[in-house]
């Protein structure tokens, strides 16, 4: 984009993190005689999966056991692809840069916290990838980051899934209007205002592009009288969205606002958009199927604020049956530990098949994050992110036994220690005890002190 044109005058940041990046550890493993739930190619009974250098090398029955590779006896157990959470805030040191209605320039990769015990807990629930998102305070929030749960590293960059495309958070409805409109008397104050903020943002980005194109045309000419424009990474990012380089993940609840943003995207030629939460998605399912990369929903969370009353547990099933790429996400450090339960609820509410239900937490979120060519199913050539269950993962009695990322075992129920912290505070004699873990959520880091409203208005989370 404009950024590329800038190189001649600005030494740019093409090497971000390159010198800090270390070789990501990859492993070998041979998993023998498992019920292999491939997601994309049915269930293969009593089958071996051979992982070589972090990649699924071979899937088959009675494969010859290679030498020097750890063998896992998975007889009677169920192997499925690592669970992918398309909406999470685990392993982040900050969630919301809530100080402006558009903060497209901020990057969650700057605040990754590799010490968050939530990563390990997610692994214990079979989740190997999470989409670490900016919060929902702003109409256009920050750039998210897709993380692989390589727990144990002290280097935040080693959690990043490098293949994953860029994504960005958008948010509609009550959160941005409350934070900026009612809280600070700025636009947006209504759903109409949210649309205006987004459209104005894109328009401003287009003007910005023009000013840079004009400058780049003349800057090397003799007798150039034009002076350089101002650099603005916020508008640069919006231009990258318009250029299709970034997938939008939009916090949304109501059918009208979902349809509004679909129209905005149509107007600007954007087709890379996923809607998140989408409680009224069932009302606009055909439109979601036609114009978007799908919907990422809760199984059965609703009524925590006014805009989330019109909801149904059949949402995921209705969306699936209408051809919407659908995933179930956690948005919570607690739910991320049992997304397989959440997926199973769609069998009670909507009668999805095993394959459809498990796709909601594997290949579908992978598609929404643009990473389905590498993960999301058990296929030869894909990355070996795997989880082994003692029972069928859609059984309420199933418990994850082992979890691998890139063929490295990061969780083993047999080797689970009482204290799995990576880092310990030298001044803390006792870990503080909490009766319930406070959800890290969409509205973290939002300062309410500049609002005139009671805190009780803000106690809900999503």
């Amino acid at each position: 984009m404009v950024r590329k044109i800038l190189v001649s005058i600005i030494i740019l940041t093409l090497f971000i993190g390159a010198s800090q990046a270390q070789e990501i550890e990859k492993g070998d493993v041979f998993i023998q005689n498992a019920h292999v739930i491939t997601i994309t190619d049915g269930v293969k009974e009593i089958t071996d999966v051979w992982v070589k250098n972090g990649i699924i090398h071979q899937i088959g029955k009675q494969l010859q056991v290679p030498g020097d590779v750890p063998v896992i006896d998975a007889s009677g157990k169920f192997l499925m692809p690592g669970i992918i959470d398309a909406h999470s805030h685990v392993a982040l040191g900050a969630i919301n840069e809530a100080s402006s209605p558009i903060t497209a320039e901020v990057k969650m990769e700057d605040v990754i916290d590799p010490f968050d015990i939530g990563i390990y807990r997610a692994l214990a629930g079979g989740t190997t990838i999470s989409h670490a998102m900016h919060g929902s305070a702003n109409a256009i929030g920050g750039q998210n980051i897709t993380l692989k749960h390589r727990y144990g590293t002290f280097n935040p960059d080693e959690l990043v899934m490098e293949e994953a495309p860029r994504t960005i958070k958008f948010a509609l409805g009550e959160n941005p209007t409350r934070v900026h409109g009612r809280g600070k008397n700025l636009q947006p104050r209504s759903r109409m205002g949210v649309e205006a903020v987004i459209r104005n943002g894109f328009e401003e980005a287009l003007q910005y592009k023009e000013s840079w194109e004009a400058w780049n045309k003349v800057k090397d000419q003799k007798n150039n009288r034009q002076v350089p424009p101002t650099f603005n990474s916020r508008l640069e990012t919006l231009l990258d969205i318009l250029d299709g380089e970034i997938i939008i993940h939009c916090h949304s609840y109501r059918a009208d606002e979902i349809y509004m943003l679909i129209q905005v995207c149509q107007d600007y030629g954007i087709d890379k958009i996923v809607f998140s939460h989408v409680n009224e998605g069932f009302k606009v399912a055909p439109e979601l199927a036609k114009y978007t990369m799908g919907a990422s929903v809760f199984s059965d969370w609703w009524a925590y604020k006014f805009e989330v009353y019109y909801s149904t547990a059949y949402n995921a099933a209705i969306l699936t049956k209408n051809g919407v790429i659908t995933s179930i996400n956690s948005d919570s450090a607690e739910l991320i530990r049992h997304l397989y339960h959440e997926a199973a609820k769609t069998q009670r509410y909507g009668g999805l098949s095993d394959e459809e239900a498990l796709a909601l937490i594997t290949i579908n979120p992978a598609r929404q994050l643009g990473i389905d060519q590498w993960v999301g199913s058990i296929e030869e050539g894909k990355q070996a992110d795997l989880v082994l269950f003692d029972k069928h993962p859609l059984s309420i009695y199933a418990i994850p036994q082992m979890t691998w990322v890139d063929g490295i075992k990061y969780f083993d129920r047999e080797e689970d220690k009482t204290d799995q912290r990576l880092k310990v505070d030298p001044e803390e004699t006792l870990e503080p005890m909490f009766l319930h873990a406070d959800h890290i959520n969409c509205m973290s880091d939002v300062d309410f002190y500049f609002t005139g409203f009671g805190r009780n208005l803000f106690e809900h989370n999503h």
């Binding site: 030494i11 800090q20 100080s99 402006s100 600070k184 990474s233 030298p426 880091d445 300062d447």
Partner: protein, 558 residues
């Protein structure tokens, strides 16, 4: 050892140590350097540590007008030079403090205008004012700097205050004579920290990182515009932007960024900033992250470790029932504590010439914490280097100070013994050639008086009261208050047979219950301001007792 003792000048013999040529019987000390009779001094026959690891005996050091003019065994001693008899004294280079903020006041920021939009604040309101100069907010004559000088500090890098990410430029000042302008250098580095004003953009590290990237890019464009405007006549005027202008020396590589961090993830962020936009980087406040040491070395990042160390976790074990895994958790906490103490030693072992900062450090902890670093792997020479030659190099003033040789500034620390010897006291500090004499002995008959609040668990429940313990003429005496066992309010008894050392305290007292007398013995361990031990009521049993020392709160520089 108790380093507090170091701070109380002790030796009676001090009185005889300096016989000044022009005022032979001058016996009082000169804490403020006000009794100066000339600017020429000679320290004679002293033990000199010119730089860490070097020790020279029987040396004379001559300094005039704030400059060391001669050092050696056989240097001519001008008659006009006032002699400081250095026989039995040890002379070190004066300490240098980095990232220090004592004596600095916060700048007044512009008022938020009517209808203020917190998403687009003017830079100053957002804490972005790299163009502010700390010298405009520094009070040269402040009590803190004098107190730090008394601990051996002669020069400091002063940081501007501000709640946001770019508070301004730092300056170097000498802790010299009051009334003089003691500025050595200004606009000496750009101070950056991961913090925000709150309530405006940027509000979190997310916004801080993004803001930094944009500022750097725009400083480059601003510079480009500046160059175009200078070279051509028909170019639109450059609107002055002090923030961008202040950052041009950073992108040119002329000025380092002094970047304050509070944990290892901050260090990662700082390295990312450096990788993205090459600039000279000095990290200050380093308190953890030994895995990052090789990376910092490879990237040639300047390192300033904090002297503020965590509290010893074993000093505050909570009472009550412990869960099963308490011990293992406690072991990990202790291990983390040990790691904190060992960090300085690891930097030394890696060959990184790090400096130290006293920011956030209570003065009373200075020697104690330095000693803890030494006990946990830092060499004594390494500790000295971190306070002298290393900061001088980081600050680019090693040709002027940080070691003792001809031509250097007369910044000296004069001690009664070597730096880490028990009982060693600071006799004098020379700063900018001014002699500050701290050799006075304690006032005669002075008393040490302490008050403790205790809590004992007896059969009848909790019992509380105070101990007042005094030292006079080498003998400990005092009183204890306690709840009258017969319920008549508080009673007082006198404390007998008190024995108090650095680590132990014991005494006894008698309680009257009607016509009976109970003998009570208290004994236990002391650590700093805490006492934990037992109270033995003869014939009844032993009960745990804890006490906390109440004394005049020591002011920190925080």
């Amino acid at each position: 050892m108790n380093f507090k003792d170091l701070l109380i000048p002790i030796s009676v013999s001090c009185l005889f140590l300096f016989i000044l040529l022009t005022q032979p019987l001058f016996g009082q000390s000169d804490r403020n350097g006000e009794r100066r009779l000339g600017s020429s001094y000679v320290i004679t026959n002293t033990t000199l540590i010119p730089s860490p690891g070097e020790i020279l005996q029987n040396q004379h050091i001559l300094f005039e007008e704030g400059i060391i003019t001669a050092v050696g065994k056989d240097i001519p001693l001008p008659a006009a030079a006032q002699e400081i008899n250095g026989d039995s004294l040890f002379v070190y280079a004066g300490f240098i403090d980095m990232a220090n903020k004592t004596g600095v006041v916060e700048p007044t920021l512009p008022e938020k205008p009517e209808g203020f939009d917190p998403s687009k604040p003017m830079p100053e309101i957002a804490g972005i004012h790299p163009h502010f100069n700390v010298t405009e907010y520094y009070q040269q004559s402040n009590p803190h700097d004098k107190a730090w000088r008394k601990l051996g500090f002669t020069l400091a890098q002063k940081l501007p205050l501000g709640k946001g990410m770019l508070p301004g430029t730092s300056a170097l000042v000498i802790y010299g004579q009051e009334g003089k302008n003691n500025l050595i250098a200004e606009h000496q580095s750009i101070y950056f920290k991961f913090s925000t004003v709150g309530g405006v953009y940027p509000n979190t590290n997310l916004g801080v990182m993004a803001t930094w990237r944009d500022l750097i890019q725009n400083a480059r464009l601003y510079k480009k515009h500046q160059e175009m405007y200078a070279a051509n006549r028909n170019i639109s005027r450059l609107e002055k932007k002090p923030v961008l202008e202040a950052l041009i020396p950073v992108i040119n590589g002329d000025l380092p960024v002094l970047l304050e961090i509070s944990d290892e993830l901050d260090i990662r962020r700082a390295l990312k900033m450096k990788d993205e936009n090459q600039f000279r980087l000095i990290l200050t406040g380093i308190n953890e992250g030994d895995k990052l040491i090789p990376l910092l070395k490879e990237k040639q990042v300047g390192a300033v470790l904090t002297l503020k160390l965590p509290e010893d976790p074993s000093s505050e074990i909570p009472s009550g029932d412990k869960s099963e895994d308490f011990e293992t958790r406690m072991d990990r906490t202790k291990e983390a504590y040990k790691q904190s103490l060992a960090l300085a030693g690891k930097y030394e072992a890696a060959g990184i010439p790090f400096a130290l900062t006293t920011k956030h450090l209570p003065r009373g902890d200075f020697f104690k914490n330095l000693q803890l670093m030494v006990e946990n792997g830092l060499s004594k020479d390494g500790a000295l280097a971190a306070l002298t030659v290393n900061p001088a190099k980081l600050l680019g003033i090693d040709d002027r100070t940080g070691t003792i040789s001809e031509g250097k500034m007369a910044n000296l620390l004069i001690m009664t013994d070597t730096l880490f010897t028990e009982g060693a006291a600071i006799q004098m500090v020379v700063s900018d050639g001014y002699v500050f004499d701290y050799s006075e002995k304690p006032e005669k008959g002075s008393k040490e008086e302490t008050t403790w609040e205790y809590e004992a668990e007896t059969q009848g429940g909790k019992s509380t009261g105070t101990w007042k313990i005094n030292l006079s003429d080498g003998k400990w005496t005092g009183t204890i208050t306690y709840e009258d066992p017969q319920g008549q309010g508080m009673k007082t008894s006198s404390i007998e047979d008190a024995v108090i050392t650095e680590e132990k305290m014991q005494f006894s007292f008698t309680v009257s219950v009607g016509s009976d007398k109970l003998d009570v013995e208290v004994s236990g361990n002391l650590s700093e301001k805490k006492f934990t031990g037992d109270m033995k009521i003869i014939g009844y049993g032993t009960f745990p007792v804890k006490a906390v020392k109440k004394d005049k709160p020591e002011k920190s520089n925080g």
